[in-house]
Amino acid sequence: MHDARRTIPDASSQGVDVSNRSVAVKVERLVMSFGTVHAVGGIGFDVVPGSTVTLLGPSGCGKTTTLRCIAGLEMPTAGRITVGGHVVFDGENGIFIEPERRNIGMVFQSYAIWPHMTVGGNVGFPLAISGVPKRQAEERTRAVLDLVGLGELQGRSAADLSGGQQQRVALARALVHEPRVVLFDEPLSNLDANLRERMRTELQLLQSRLGFTAIFVTHDQEEALSLSDHIVIMNKGLIEQTGTPQDIFKNPETAFTARFLGYSNVFPGRLAAIGDAGSVAVDLGEGRRLSARWRSRSPPRQGADCTIAFRADRVALMPANDPAGGNAFPGVVETVAFLGTCFDYTITSGAVQVQAEGPVDHPVARGQAVSVAIAPEHCHAFAAED
């Protein structure tokens, strides 16, 4: 299906890495500095063909920069990037393939719809550039527009489209020349909540139909979890953790990841005891002590400061003197909020404030004394953050 012009020529065959044919995108030791700002500090990850990888992280952590390096829109400071088995950048050997020859599609955060063209002109542009005959190009444009549900807008000026329409046009344009890899830079962030959800589903449908490899940038964890086969969590230009959504969500490796994935209870503590198979006991002060799983890569040290994290929905509120609550400490319900599907509680226990969720059919009243219980496998302990 690829045009001859769009495949990377043999001239760069020296860069073809046969062992990596099964990897759609491979990023190695990527460094990108803007003067003294190290936007990307030396990262690497692989993307399996046809899968979706999400770069997730807070604002300014280097997601966009990484994406732009893959696209060829930035000249990385160092490292190596391989796309479809072809080296497109190699700092050591001075290889840099221009973006237009990488056969990558990209959907920009702003959508970057060209206002001086029609919708059809925008979407057909990649075909026109690669010299596809006019009729054929028109058909393909039409087909892609139909795919994104904008078939009837082909002749319209692109200057006054709604946000959702722009998003679809941008998507159609990125897909029309059937690239191996499509990059998305927060494509949904400009849409309202309803539309966002719909587009998310549509994207997934499209991908499963067309089979392209997607690299997705977002700082919305829900989006990341729902869309991705793999997630790369970034922080300050470095990778914190990679893994499948379930894997990451269940087993965060750092307090940063935990917090970023929506763990609402993150507290400092001290390692009181170290058991086997990664079980530890964490002292939260004032006699509060919880058993937890040690998640950090570095081994736990007795008496060292640490961080403990657990999710609100993993907290069970027991009657104050329920003996069943093994891994628990006492507290008083401070606030109660009804959220429709559950209750949201704040429980005060000395200096510690715990967020908890409870079922709608068993409300707990404000001011009630409770026992805050968490199963040890849902309690994550990490080396203390500095």
Binding site: R29, E98, E100, W114, F125, S130, R173
Partner: protein, 563 residues
């Protein structure tokens, strides 16, 4: 999946691919030859009387009383011009942008009209109005004064005309900054208890200060080096400026290139210092006021001062347009005796300019040629420069834009002298091309500033998405960026076209017989023809420029409204 090691040691990347590097090198060479070489030629000439370094000549030049006086005149003229243009420009801009002055929609475009008019024609008109004895105003006021109250043949007269004609520069810069200012900045000042006036003075003006200051420095440098107006209004009354003395040094026999070069170097130093001061003051403050958030700036209610404000604005327009009307009257008189005389009504002046004086026709054709081709080349060059600077990662690209900004400090007459000294023995001397190149170089900063802001107004993602769609760099620029800024390019072309048509200073140094421009032709005609004939030519020139402006506006307006 593997987690990479985080080794951030910088690697050597020999990525000097393609012709990009070559292009940068060529542009550097081009700028060096056209900007730096002429300047060097002036310096070398200034310091080398005969053989070797000469300080005596420099000492001699700067102890001549005539010249010291000229230095002071130049300084006073520049300062007065800036004060006047600055005050009027800021005031009118504020009224138009921030007040509920009536008739704004009409007054705003009218305030820009002086920009399209030649200040030489303006000087000629003011001569009609305010010559000490035969001027209209003086005839009008003669019964009330012992001595004529207005004398346009003076430092004040020169500054008045310059101030009037350079007000639009300040006006335009300030208006832009006021219109793009975040209204909430002012609102919060009002909420903190500041009155309207206090807000205007303590918040609005300081926020616009960078824009106002750049405009003022531009006006100052231009006024210091301006040549046409002092020639018309200063020389008759023996009020000399550095620029007229430079011209005289070249035009006496034998031509005194050494003195001209020394004075030019001094003038350049003078303007360069002020530009450097500007850069120092504005460092880091340049874009602070431009937020473009789409807030509509609130308008201050002038209350009972609404109509007086209209009066002030109209008075300014009257000062510019009034004399032109007087000139129009003069152009239909066979002789000017201080008042319009029906018995003297004639078309002979126009006949003479159109059919008899070959130089008028020649000047017109030459100027149209130079300005049309020159503006086209300049737009292309400036766009290319802006694209290279803002849309590539070529090494040394930022230096390019700095180098191209150098001519902003160089008065036209100095640049003209540089081209003359540097190129007199080359085949392009005596052609229209040398004048055209001088124009392009002289106004490169104007063009570049324009094209840079045009390019910057296009989101990078728009052309990056073209790259991702398979377009080469050139393809992305040509098919995406250039079409998007096309309306802006038309305005820029028009700006340069008008600027070229009005140019006097460098042409004065570079023209030969046959290559007179329209302004040179006017000055030459003023040499020997009576007011009426010069007036007729001035009127024709003005009408022509305004017609061109209107025509191009008309032609390009449908596209402009689209963007």
């Amino acid at each position: 999946m593997t987690l990479a090691q985080t080794v951030a040691h910088p690697l050597r990347i020999p990525l000097l691919r393609g012709h990009g590097f070559l292009i940068v090198a060529i542009i550097y060479a081009g700028l060096a030859v056209s900007v730096i070489y002429p300047l060097l030629a002036v310096f070398v000439q200034a310091f080398s009387e005969g053989a070797g370094l000469s300080i005596e000549k420099i000492q001699e030049v700067f102890t001549t009383p005539n010249i010291i006086e000229a230095v002071f005149n130049t300084l006073i003229i520049s300062v007065l011009t800036v004060v006047m243009a600055g005050t009027i420009g800021v005031m009118l801009a504020w009224l138009v942008a921030r007040s509920n002055m009536p008739l704004k929609r009409i007054l705003d475009p009218l305030n820009m009209v002086p920009f399209y008019l030649s200040s030489v024609v303006g000087a000629l008109s003011w001569q009609v109005i305010a010559a000490p004895r035969a001027g209209l105003l003086n005839s009008l006021f003669a019964p009330f004064f012992d001595t004529p109250p207005f004398n346009v043949y003076s430092v004040g007269g020169i500054a008045l005309v310059l101030g009037l004609f350079y007000t639009p520069y300040v006006y335009l810069f300030t208006l832009g900054s006021l219109q793009s200012m975040d209204a909430s900045l002012e609102d919060s000042a009002r909420m903190s208890g500041a009155s309207k006036l206090q807000t205007a003075i303590r918040i609005t003006l300081p926020l616009s200060a960078p824009a106002i200051l750049s405009a003022c420095i531009l006006v100052f440098v231009t006024a210091a080096g301006i040549f046409g107006v002092p020639l018309v209004l200063g020389v008759p009354g023996s009020v000399h400026t550095l620029s007229t003395l430079i011209y005289r040094a070249i035009n006496e026999y034998p031509a005194d290139f050494a003195t001209a070069a020394i004075l030019s170097s001094a003038l350049f130093l003078f303007t360069a210092i002020f530009t450097v001061v500007q850069i120092m003051i504005l460092r880091g403050r340049r874009f602070t006021t431009v937020t473009g958030k789409g807030y509509r700036p609130r308008q201050v209610d002038l209350g009972r001062w609404r109509w007086p404000a209209v009066g002030v604005n109209t008075l300014y327009l009257l000062f510019v347009i009034g004399p032109f009307i007087a000139l129009l009257l003069v152009s239909f008189q066979d002789a000017w005796t201080g008042a319009f005389d029906w018995a003297r009504l004639t078309l002979a002046n126009y006949h003479k300019v159109i059919f008899v004086d070959a130089i008028a026709k020649r000047g017109l054709i030459n100027s149209l040629f130079i300005s049309t081709i020159g503006a086209t080349i300049a737009v292309a060059v400036c766009m290319l420069l802006a694209l290279v600077v803002h849309r590539t990662r070529l090494p040394g690209r930022e230096g390019l834009s700095h180098l191209a900004m150098v001519p902003v400090t160089v008065p036209g007459i100095v640049l003209g002298l540089g081209f003359l000294i540097a190129l007199i023995t080359t085949p392009i001397y005596g052609t229209l091309w040398i004048i055209m190149i001088a124009y392009i170089v002289h106004y490169l900063p104007t063009g570049l500033r324009n094209s840079e802001s045009l390019v910057q107004s296009v989101s990078r993602e728009l052309d990056e998405s073209a790259r991702m769609s398979g377009a080469t760099w050139r393809g992305a620029m040509w098919r995406i960026v250039v079409p998007l800024v096309a309306p802006g390019m038309v305005s820029m072309w028009l700006l340069l076209f008008v600027t070229y048509i009005r140019e006097v200073s460098s042409s004065m140094m570079l023209f030969t017989f046959g290559t007179e421009t329209i302004s040179i032709a006017l000055i030459q005609i003023m040499e020997y023809e009576p007011y009426g004939v010069s007036g007729a030519f001035g009127v024709l020139q003005t009408v022509l420029v305004l017609a061109c402006v209107a025509f191009i506006r008309q032609v390009s307006s449908p596209r402009q409204s689209n963007a």
